[in-house]
């Protein structure tokens, strides 16, 4: 087991630079999630750690050794691919044993390790089957089993759940969390789904356009996003943003800060409370999505900004009427409008 250190890691394809200097420290045994919109470089970064992409400059260390020039198979990493990448012409057993066989491991030892991994993942019953005869979830387990068998220092997951259906995704997510608890190995997990990131991670790394936007625990990112991008990316539905001139005259009093034209106020839908007096922001009711457990209220301000409020019950107002919302001052966020950076009170 080992931690990882990334120092000023850059990647270019010809003249196009796609990673712009990533610095990152990952502790031994930590579960780290790389998250970001598609094209942000999260998979590229993972593949650079795995050794499947060359590192243009900077250094990647696993434990205390720099691995820039170390072959992928010698880095002590194991990867679970989005498409599972099982070897289609081998049985489940042979799939899992392949890596050890390449390393000329003793057959008795191979057998012991494959059986042990199969036990953990409860796939002992179909060791003799071929991947083609397995369901998506079973294939996923075999892919994870193939990684476990190699007893790596670092597990890498490249969007492992995106090919599963919704119910299976929740179940497998739990299993991966349990697996991490059991193995206590460093895991790096790439996803574009912020729910997976929030539920699994010890530490989330938010990436955008090849740059790290923020690193921190899920709750840190939720409560104190460093900039408007992170604020919008973490949390569902997305955070609402308002210009100063969209707030009511009472807003400054409620929020405890006078907003000027250079400030954007961010309010999370789940923190907005409908109110008759002392509203921070007002909007015309457009649409209500009633999910029973809660309701998503879609509104539009006088200036034309759309926003969402998540309320316990659908509002009593009819479509087209104005509704005012207030918020606890400590739950409101303020960002610089030009740089997007969080403004500290």
């Amino acid at each position: 087991m080992a931690g990882l250190t990334l120092r000023d890691v850059r990647k270019s394809y010809g003249a196009t630079q796609v990673m712009h200097g990533v610095d990152l420290d990952i502790e031994d045994g930590e579960f780290v999630v790389f998250v970001g919109p598609s094209g942000c470089g999260k998979s590229t970064l993972l593949r650079m750690i795995a050794g499947l992409e060359e590192i243009t400059s900077g250094s990647v260390c696993i434990g205390d050794t720099e691995v820039n020039q170390v072959a992928a198979s010698k880095r002590g990493v194991a990867m679970v691919f989005q498409t599972y990448a099982l070897y289609p012409h081998m049985t489940v057993y042979k799939n899992m044993a392949f890596g050890l066989k390449q390393a000329k491991t003793d057959p008795a030892e191979i057998d012991r390790r494959v059986k042990a991994a199969a036990e953990i993942l409860q796939i002992t019953d179909y060791l003799d089957r071929s991947p083609r005869n397995l369901s998506g979830g079973q294939r996923q387990r075999v892919a994870i089993g193939r990684a476990i068998v190699r007893d790596p220092e670092v597990f890498l997951f490249d969007e492992p759940l995106s090919n599963l259906d919704a119910a299976l995704r929740v179940q497998t997510r739990l299993e991966i969390a349990r697996l991490h608890e059991r193995l206590e190995t460093t895991m790096i997990y790439v996803t574009h789904d912020q729910v997976e990131a929030m539920t699994l991670a010890d530490k989330i790394v938010v990436l955008r356009d090849g740059r790290v936007e923020q690193v921190g625990s899920p709750i840190e990112l939720y409560e104190r996003p460093r900039n408007a991008f992170v604020a919008q990316f973490i949390g569902s539905p997305k955070m609402n943003f308002f210009d100063a001139d969209e707030l009511t005259s009472e807003a400054a009093g409620v929020l405890g800060r006078a907003a000027d034209a250079n400030v954007q106020i961010g309010l999370r839908p789940e923190h907005m409370i409908p109110t008759a007096t002392g509203a921070v922001v007002e909007g015309k009711l457009e649409l209500v999505e009633n999910l029973g457990e809660y309701a998503l209220v879609h509104l539009i301000t006088a200036k034309g900004t759309e926003f969402i409020a998540k309320t316990e019950k659908p509002p009593s107002q009819a479509k087209g009427e104005m509704i005012g919302f207030t918020i606890k001052p400590e739950l409101a966020h303020a960002f610089d409008k030009t740089t997007g950076l969080r403004l500290v009170e």
Partner: protein, 312 residues
């Protein structure tokens, strides 16, 4: 009319046509193989018209089995087909893997690689036997000459000259000779059909899953091990198809054999049939029936093999 009658009636003409197309030549061949039937005979003019009164029973078959070239022709058919298959599949795999990557001029290289396939078989044979394999005028003759004069020159070299004196004078090989004409045919047909194998393997290689190879890389598999464990199983089906199609085509090779040596020392079943046809239609028909039997034996093996890979 029941639901099935109309489609059946509509299908009938094409089914009948196919039946006639297949059955008429086959039954005529069968018929001729049991009678005495020659094109020209001054002693027995009645044999020149096919008639049941010329019935010979299994005589034609016995005649063919006793003919000195029959077993030789069967052996040669098998030798030529299997050699061409091995060469084209191995070369085809190698070339397909080599050009299945990005390099400047890839498009031109691919077109050039495939071009031998568009050369007519007779032209191919003429080009090879005269321009490449001819022991005097062909590339082979020129190359042997060149090597000989090079070694000759080195014999006068001080100190090391004695070493080259030990070397024999190289002799060019005549590929029209009895022992070698089959090899000439194998070479030229393999050259012509390797592009076919390359073409089929190349399209299949493009559908290979890259992430499987990446997983194998992480598992520590060398490129060779990836080729054996991933690429070759992935290509099992195209290999089976190449083997099947080529067997069908190469069992009936004729033009190359005719041009290389006119059957001298190198005959296959079609060529033997061709020789009989110059006069003895009965024997030619009997040989044709043997050819059908041989083709069926090979087809059973092939269908088993192909069927197995297609089932997987």
């Amino acid at each position: 009319m029941s639901k099935r009658t109309l489609p059946r009636i509509l299908q009938t003409p094409s089914v009948l046509l196919l039946l006639v197309w297949m059955l008429v030549p086959l039954s005529m061949t069968l018929y001729f193989s049991f009678i005495r039937y020659v094109l020209n005979s001054s002693i027995r003019p009645e044999w020149t018209t096919p008639a049941l009164s010329n019935w010979r029973g299994l005589g034609n078959y016995k005649y063919v089995l006793d003919a000195k070239d029959f077993w030789f022709a069967i052996q040669n058919s098998v030798l030529i087909v299997s050699s061409i298959l091995i060469i084209t599949v191995v070369l085809g795999l190698g070339i397909a893997v080599l050009i299945n990557r990005n390099f400047p001029g890839r498009g031109i290289v691919r077109v050039l690689l495939i071009s031998p396939f568009f050369v007519m078989p007779a032209v191919n044979a003429v080009l090879w036997i005269n321009m490449i394999l001819d022991p005097v005028l062909g590339l082979q003759g020129l190359a042997v000459d060149g090597l000989n004069s090079l070694i000759d020159g080195l014999r006068d070299f001080p100190i090391l000259g004695w070493f080259f004196n030990l070397w024999p004078v190289l002799e060019p090989i005549s590929f029209r000779a009895t022992q070698t004409s089959a090899y000439a045919v194998i070479m030229m047909v393999a050259w012509q059909w390797t592009p076919f194998a390359v073409l089929i393997f190349m399209t299949s290689l493009q559908s290979e899953d890259e992430s499987q190879k990446e997983a194998a890389t992480l598992d520590g598999a060398s490129p060779w091990s990836q080729f054996i464990n991933l690429t070759v199983p992935h290509l099992a089906r195209p290999i089976a198809i190449v083997v099947m199609i080529q067997s069908i085509f190469h069992l009936s090779l004729y033009a190359e054999i005719e041009i290389v040596s006119r059957g001298n020392g190198n005959k296959n079943l079609p060529y033997l049939i061709g020789e009989f046809t110059s006069n003895n239609i009965g024997a030619a028909s009997a040989t044709g029936i043997f050819a059908v039997i041989l083709a069926n034996i090979i087809a059973i093996f092939l269908l088993r093999m192909v069927g197995k890979t297609l089932m997987d």
